[in-house]
Symmetry: C3
Subunit: 348 residues, 3 copies
């Protein structure tokens, strides 16, 4: 971490815009949180509730929103979207490690595979017949790329990623360790008390600028393809079944499961551990809360939730038991309303 | 995908049965969906709601159920179970890729391991002492097979599968990438504020014709074995804890968790992300809906569900808050019933 | 399993304490369940409900709690914590397999990495620049240890584990196959309809005596580090997001997800498939029931639950539908109470 390249605060503001207030000559070496920042670090506040912590930070500079222009006496950059600004500053200060092109001598690459000269293939990685790896792609150690699979330019597979045959990943993607792309979908047909496997002959097609978290799995299509559009961001341990389509720039948090043939719109946000039924469609701009099971199509944008609210275990025991009699409770309420001469508003 | 072998429709009907209506000489090269099928493809309809799409398909032939005998003028095969029929036709048209037997020179196979001559061992795969791999088994690249583990005939491990020591997999099984079989169960005992590990000395025993989805994990038994019976089908990212037993021909969808020592019957169906408590028993032919947590034994076949129904977030906020007072609401209802002179039917 | 070393029952009692009743010269070779134990096995009963099975066991000896002193005529050891006692006896009878130190010739170890002479590095494992592996550590086959990562003394990585650059694992830890430590956290910022990646520059720091189950993932910190304290036990397929901190001696069952920056106290217990929101804090000694979503901080120890109770699907259909009208039902109840002249107790 020593000898890190530094930038003047003024140069950062010139590069990314925003209004600089304070000393343009402060040298910034790294990004940091309000609590841990030191004098050569730049920090940020994206939500008003963190503004009180500004008084205590030892950061050399801070990125603030227009509303918080005067919230600190520190040297600062004022902008409309401090979190996105911070992302760009951090990317500048933390460029990806330089990678030496070439194929490690322990890698096993079929002679019919086409590997760009500027690509890097890690140790003990195996690449099948007719596979392609694009310019400046980085394939980590222990990966497997199946026959005729295609990995786009500047895409990075971390260690121990598996890409099955014929699947395609676009440019500038990132797949973290343990990712599996192109495994067979769960296609089985029952006959005479026994399950028969249905060959899964579709592929997985992944667009550009997609990131895929550790141990996430994306199944190949049964007949047609499973499709992940450009700019989709997938967290860890997500399961995407066969023939799912995920619209561009949708973000999905960890532990989500999406069942077969579901279509998720563009710019959606699925909260952690939410679950989506198969064969349904979510419109663009739908948000699903964490832990929510969506069982039918959602045609309108908005936020949808279905979570049992937790309480102390004792209280839960008392309350939850009534759920199994809820229909009976409603009938009793109606009966009382009848006795009271009230109209029954919710009668089916 | 070129030079694919084709079959005459009449030959398909001879091989798998059913009634052929139309041209027996149509050449079929591939299976496809109603939407994407072309003239050399065969498609199918297994559910009446898809029959209207038959008018628009460009398929060369179609597999239909007896009820839909006249739903199309296309050349067609009429049978009792179109989906299973389709599975068989697809398997015929999409045979597994031919595999060259032998051990890749980069594989590391202990000299005491017994590898069938007809088996194929992939690059960078490691096989331990006394392990066995059966006839025509295919072990993908980057796998690990531990000491004394046994992989049955014609079983396929895709890339990067891990089988711990002494575990056994039967014949004609498939394990997808990232599968882990035989990891230690979660056996810990608390003493003086510290957890002590309990050695997990059981094995995992897997029957014949079992398929295991990507990144699914099956823990070895604590003392006795974890058992997966014949014909079980497991989707991706399932967690099966130590000493679980899963009965034959049970199918389990993705993201399911089964806690320690649970016994699942034969021919059960567990929906995606359902969760099964430890030390309980599910009878044969039980179905559990997606997202449902089963906390006690189920002695009767049938379908069981326990899911909070989603709504818009605003509506959920209003409704869900009352769940924490449900017991109080029921008391208030009883009191009103008392005032109204009604008997209190649900008093404990 | 032959030629297993045996111990006299009297020697076991001398080593671990407790009161021996019966024959001290019985030879014990293995631990076993009440049902499967044979004459050279020792078994145990930790819960009173299993005591009736003692009559039928063929075990040579049994470990019992003080309350069950006379529950069997078998030779027995009486102690305060039979399960922990059993853990110790099992560890004695099942020592880890001896491992030959050294680096397998197929492993790819950077020359700047420091590998202890007593450590064992498995086949096809790859170790990066400046990484360190401590005394008697065992690194299984197919692992990847990134640049400057540190693996402590006597820690074991099973096959196909991935440790990203700069992460640190303490002494006597165990990581099962498929574990990923140090993958990027899900840090993205939205600008102009597109997600920008925020470099994840923190590390994962893991204490001593931590066990991590198969396919569990732990993300590196965004700015500061993700921290797992000493003695934490993690089951399979757990997802721990960036900047989470887990207090010492907390145990977490399978399929749990913990969102970013959550702080879990010491000695907590999280049930299977429970989910913890980001940016909240759980006090020491909190227990969360299986399947429960915790959405806000918990300041008091105790057990917390929020699970929809399952029923037959038909019954669920009838009852669950009312949840979407629960707020309306409560209003109707209040109205009736008003008519009846009762005070409205729960009016907001």
């Amino acid at each position: 971490m020593t000898k890190r390249k530094s930038y003047k605060l003024g140069d950062i503001a010139k590069r990314f815009g925003g209004e600089l207030i304070g000393d343009p000559d402060i040298r910034i070496r790294q990004v940091a949180t309000l609590e841990s920042a030191q004098s050569t670090d730049i920090t940020f506040v994206a939500q008003a509730r963190y503004l009180p912590q500004l008084d205590r930070t030892r950061a050399g500079a801070v990125i603030l929103g227009s509303d918080a222009r005067d919230a600190s006496g520190l040297s600062r950059i004022i902008c409309t979207n401090p979190y996105a600004y911070f992302a760009k500053v951090s990317a500048l200060l933390n460029p990806p490690a330089a990678v030496v092109p070439g194929i490690h001598k322990s890698a096993v690459v079929d002679k019919s595979a086409r590997i760009a000269k500027s690509a890097s293939i890690g140790a003990c990685t195996v690449i099948g017949k007719g596979a392609q790896v694009g310019d400046k792609a980085i394939i980590g150690p222990g990966c497997f790329i199946g026959d005729k699979a295609i990995v786009g330019a500047a895409t990075r597979l971390h260690a121990n990623v598996t890409i099955y045959h014929q699947c395609r990943i676009g440019a500038r993607c990132i797949a973290h360790s343990g990712v599996v792309i192109g495994s067979d979908g769960f296609g089985i047909a029952r006959e005479d008390g026994v399950w028969k496997k249905i060959p899964q002959i579709g592929r997985v097609l992944i667009g550009d600028d997609v990131e895929i978290g550790a141990n996430t799995t994306i199944d190949r299509g049964a007949l047609d393809d499973t499709v992940i559009e450009d700019g989709v961001k997938l967290d860890n341990q997500i399961q995407i079944a066969h023939n799912v389509r995920i619209g561009a720039h949708t973000a999905i948090a960890a532990c989500v499961g999406i069942a077969g043939s579901a279509k998720i719109g563009r710019n959606c946000a699925l909260g952690g551990a939410s679950m989506i039924y198969g064969h349904i469609t979510l419109a663009d701009n739908v948000s699903v809360s964490a832990g929510t099971l969506i069982m039918k199509s959602l045609e309108q944008p908005g936020t949808y939730t279905g979570v049992y609210p937790f309480s102390s275990h004792q209280r839960w025991l008392k309350n939850a038991a009534h759920l199994r009699q809820l229909d009976d409770l409603v009938k009793r309420l109606r009966e009382l309303e009848g006795l009271a001469g009230k109209t029954e508003r919710n009668k089916p």
